[in-house]
């Protein structure tokens, strides 16, 4: 490969390169700048993420494989990258004030968020299983450290240790599965695997079966699908709240993108034999997630279970598997990202006032103490519950109708029942927000002060939550064209 050729191919990795370079720049700035200036590192991180998003939109997406058929820059990767970077941007904006207050580890925090985003975008672009694995590891290792960054907090320590141990197992499963896939097909490149498997006459091979099962288990762990979800509530609860949001949206988007690409581009011949397993995964995941969320007292833990349930809804779209199913999946990912980061964002704001700030009673009277934050939380919760005209409603509508179209009526009936159940625990928080707390009866509580970053993140997430719900045409069209890029 000549230097000119290599430089040309780098244009397809522009988002990854910008994210990585910004991360390295932050590390160096952190090492060389005096303590008083570290507050500005957050601005650098936000600017770098915005620049990567801008560059992704500016560069053409021809969809030809780059760097020895390792990665590709197509419209599908563009859509997922946009969702990931949007999530990262919101998380960074929400982190600014907390980081400024804590001080220690500021440079590492921002650098790791950017490195994790690098891994996520690589997963969205990967068309080779080694590249998927590398992306997965880059994002996982960064997130392990981010979870445990508050070193003196017991909960964060416990969460980080659980995550790193179980995450290590999951990576092991994934890698072990890859060895079987390689043995069965003779390659780890998605196109080569698909052409070897052809239309399905070579599918009945025990190595292929075992490999697919192990790879699916690895993905399922990272997506927190039941029964691979046991780590999720503890890790989500123990991590710093912005990082919980990041894990719930960014990691899920990246892993789902890789999962869909795996099934559509590498193993389409295998898919018919796995539909039942995916069906069960989707059904069990949403049911267990919702039932467990019902009984939680901590809103943070409730949102952790709710994100498990949402992974179940996303899997319904994967089960459908049709182009309209994947289109629905992409739109749902966007909706899920903005509403979920929004909900966690409100929690970040609430936690500034009170230690903990995670229980239901901490949310009492929020709507009176700060009308903007209260209204935003109500909006995000309505959206998570799937009430029109929000993004969450539209996402569910698209996913469910695609699944019915593909003939999975019973799965959709189950999903609709689940959504009704879920409305109970979301609306419980909304009611708490607009109920006068006992403390407020005694005397007026202080109003909540929003920092610029928090205000920007909540407004952006709120506008998108309404925007995707009210004017879905543009987003849907973008997702539809993204799916055309897949094989």
């Amino acid at each position: 490969m000549s230097v000119v050729e290599a430089l040309y191919q780098c244009s397809g990795l522009l988002a990854v390169l910008i994210l990585f370079a910004t991360g390295v720049l932050i590390l160096l700035l952190d090492a060389f700048s005096p303590l008083g200036r570290k507050g500005r590192l957050g601005g650098v991180a936000v600017a770098g993420t915005a620049a990567a998003l801008f560059a992704a939109w500016q560069s053409e997406s021809p969809g030809e494989p780059l760097f020895f058929e390792m990665v590709v820059w197509d419209r599908y990767a563009l859509f997922v990258t946009s969702v990931i970077l949007l999530g990262a941007l919101l998380v960074l904006l929400l982190s600014l004030e907390g980081r400024r207050r804590d001080g220690a580890g500021t440079g590492e925090y921002y650098a790791l968020v950017l490195f994790a985003a690098t891994g996520m975008v690589l997963m969205a672009q990967a068309v080779h299983f080694i590249m998927i694995f590398l992306g997965l590891e880059i994002l996982s290792i960064s997130v392990y450290v981010l979870v445990g960054l508050p070193r003196h907090e017991r909960r964060a320590n416990e969460a980080a240790l659980k995550y790193v141990l179980l995450g290590g197992f999951a990576s092991g499963f994934f890698l072990y599965g890859l060895t079987f896939l390689y043995g069965a097909t003779g390659s780890l490149s998605m196109t080569a695997m698909a052409s070897y498997l052809g239309t399905g006459e070579r599918v009945f091979n025990s190595y292929l079966l075992l490999g697919t099962a192990l790879v699916l288990a690895g993905f399922a762990f990272k997506l927190a699908l039941v029964p691979f979800h046991l780590w999720t509530p503890d890790v989500y609860e123990g991590a710093p709240t912005p990082i919980t949001a990041y894990m719930a949206v960014g990691v899920k988007a990246a892993v789902l993108a890789a999962l869909v690409r795996t099934f559509r581009e590498a193993l389409p011949a295998v898919v018919p034999h796995w539909t039942t397993a995916l069906w069960i995964l989707a059904a069990v995941t949403m049911t267990v997630g919702n039932v467990m969320a019902l009984v939680q007292q901590s809103v943070k833990r409730m949102l952790a279970y709710s994100s498990i349930a949402h992974a179940g809804y996303l899997m319904v779209a994967v089960v459908a598997g049709t182009p309209s199913g994947v289109t629905a999946l992409l739109v749902y990912l966007l909706a899920y990202t903005v509403m979920n980061v929004g909900a966690f964002g409100v929690m970040v704001v609430g936690q500034k006032e009170r230690d903990g700030g995670e229980l239901l009673q901490d949310f009492e009277g929020l709507g009176f103490r700060c009308p903007l934050v209260g209204a935003a939380m109500a909006l995000f919760l309505f959206s998570l519950a799937g009430i029109p005209p929000t993004a969450g409603f539209l996402g569910k509508l698209l996913v469910f109708s695609a699944a019915v179209e593909a003939g999975y009526t019973w799965l959709v009936i189950l999903a609709v029942i689940n959504s009704v159940v879920a409305a109970y625990y979301y609306l419980r928080v909304v009611i708490a927000i607009y109920r006068r707390s006992e403390a407020a009866e005694a005397g007026p509580e202080p109003a909540i002060r929003l920092s610029g970053g928090e205000r920007a993140a909540l407004i952006l997430a709120g506008l998108l939550t309404v925007g995707v719900g009210v004017l879905p045409q543009g987003f849907w069209e973008m997702a539809r064209r993204a799916v055309l890029a897949l094989g």
Partner: protein, 118 residues
């Protein structure tokens, strides 16, 4: 066909032989002096039993981690050196980039004081 394995068999026989001779000689002429340290599971002086509340510098971990990073770098450099000619300029630039990233890591470690023992 089997003739190919004869050198390997000879090598195996010689190794076993040398090992047997050394073990025999040391058992025969060496003096046995049994001390407590010698009978411990780890002969490095680490006490295998004791309370949990022992203090030892966390710097050991930092040094071990740094060692692993640069060790892995070497692991990648060796195979690259073997196929250096085949990879040409592309491989050279790739390796320069890789080494540059590691170097930035070293600068970061240095500035953060990870290499200072005191």
């Amino acid at each position: 066909m089997t003739a190919v394995y004869i050198p390997a068999l000879i090598y195996l026989a010689v190794t076993m032989g040398v090992m047997a001779v050394i073990l025999f000689l040391s058992a025969r002429i060496g003096r046995r002096r049994v001390t407590r340290e010698k009978m411990l599971p780890y002969e490095c002086g680490m006490d295998p039993l004791g309370t949990l509340e022992i203090h030892f510098p966390i710097k050991f971990y930092v040094v071990a981690m740094i060692f692993i990073i640069f060790d892995i770098e070497t692991v990648f450099l060796y195979p690259w050196a073997v196929v250096f000619r085949d990879l040409g300029w592309f491989g050279f630039v790739e390796m320069l980039l890789f080494t540059a990233v590691i170097l930035i890591g070293l600068v970061y470690l240095f500035r953060k004081g990870a290499l200072e023992w005191e």
